[in-house]
């Protein structure tokens, strides 16, 4: 019994100390990691969507609490008015989580563009969703209230060839984006009014 306790206790101490130290390190690096992700992942995605806007959407962002989580909305000004918001939502692809940045015109409730941020899809197949313009481009001008479904599931989204599951994941992310947008639109409008 004493021996068993010693085994148990050793592993417990090792794990507890390691876990404690790591959570400290995580807290210290958190802010820097966020800035880096902004610079390398979200930044390019937002710029791709907001091409031609007159402000810097990366600095003009608003944070809204959704339950416990805080969500960021990047605001783009076109014709001098803050009328496009971009935000990230997630779907499940073939190799894990797919992050999709969705830009929505807040006046017309229409998608201005999407861009893929994080993904772990197969290079040459699913990963093409990130680069293929014809795939991403088809969402441009679509109503955000519509259903997003690939053609194989009876919808009207053209999947990336050879990557139906990835395309489905992108649709899933867009469905999530729709839900978030609908829920938080009043809040977004309130914040935009202050800009």
């Amino acid at each position: 019994m004493a021996r068993l306790f010693k085994l148990f206790f050793t592993v417990l101490v090792f794990s507890a100390v390691a876990g404690g130290l790591l959570s400290m390190l995580e807290a210290v690096t958190k802010e820097r990691i966020e800035t880096q992700q902004l610079l390398f992942l979200k930044g390019p995605a937002v710029k791709e969507i907001m091409e031609g806007c007159s402000n810097d959407p990366l600095t003009d962002r608003i944070r809204i609490k959704e339950g416990k989580e805080e969500r960021q909305f990047f605001v783009g000004k076109f014709d001098g008015k803050p009328n496009v918001v971009a935000f990230e939502s997630y779907g499940k692809g073939f190799g894990g989580k797919i992050g999709v940045m969705v830009g929505v015109d807040i006046d017309k409730d229409k998608i201005v563009g999407i861009a893929i941020t994080t993904h772990s899809e197969t290079p040459g197949l699913g990963a093409r969703a990130k680069t293929e313009k014809s795939f991403k481009g088809q969402f441009k001008g679509k109503d955000i209230n519509k259903a997003f479904k690939v053609k194989a599931d009876g919808g009207d989204v053209d999947a990336v060839s050879g990557a139906t599951i990835t395309s489905r994941g992108v649709c899933m992310a867009l469905e999530e984006a729709k839900a978030t947008y609908m829920k938080l639109k009043p809040e977004i409008l309130k914040n935009l009014g202050k800009m």
Partner: protein
């Protein structure tokens, strides 16, 4: 100090991990498409081997034999997360390039192998030498493999063109089968020198 030097240098040639033991190949073949990725991976692995060797050697008399592997894994995993967080915070581009292979260092046989075969039985100083030697040897092997693959397969070294625009790259070397062929040839050459 003589033993420090001996423990260090054995990892550089006599026991150079990927070639002599043919261990840790999964990551070694995947990250050697480019020299910068190979160097980054090598440095990450060196840090983890040295760090885990030091801690395991320090606690070698405290860890009960029955749970030693569990304790090693906790220590190694902790160091890997440190690397992962630091890379995300400071060298995000490299983190994106290495991706999944950073967390996979946890299960790299070289690290666990050194803990079990060396740090477990030796004092701290030789363990540092052993970890450092193995790490540097691994880095050298990766960089050598990556140099061949990048120079011939892409016509570049560290992203800079070597042969000029007229060179037609031998892209086969950048694919997985090319990596195996390249590794096999290197092992063959090393065997010639061994005799």
């Amino acid at each position: 100090m003589a033993s420090f030097a001996r423990e260090f240098t054995k990892g550089l040639w006599d026991e150079i991990p990927p070639f002599r033991f043919v261990l840790g190949l999964c990551a070694a073949l995947a990250v050697t498409k480019s020299v910068d990725g190979a160097l980054g991976m090598g440095i990450a692995l060196t840090f983890v081997t040295v760090g885990s060797n030091v801690l395991i050697s320090l606690f070698r008399k405290l860890i009960p034999n029955d749970v030693r592997i569990a304790c090693y894994i906790v220590v190694i995993a902790a160091f890997v997360i440190v690397v992962e967080l630091m890379m995300q915070a400071y060298t995000y581009a490299l983190f994106e390039k290495l991706g999944i292979f950073i967390p996979l260092i946890v299960v790299n046989c070289i690290v666990l192998g050194r803990a079990e075969a060396f740090a477990n039985k030796n004092p701290v100083l030789p363990s540092i030498a052993d970890g450092l030697g193995m790490g540097v040897g691994y880095t050298m092997a990766l960089v050598a493999l990556a140099s061949i693959r990048e120079i011939l397969g892409a016509g570049t070294f560290w992203g800079i063109s070597v042969f000029g625009p007229s060179y037609k790259p031998f892209t086969f070397l950048l694919e997985a089968p090319g990596a195996f062929v390249c590794l096999g040839l290197m092992l063959a050459v090393m065997n010639i020198f061994k005799k």
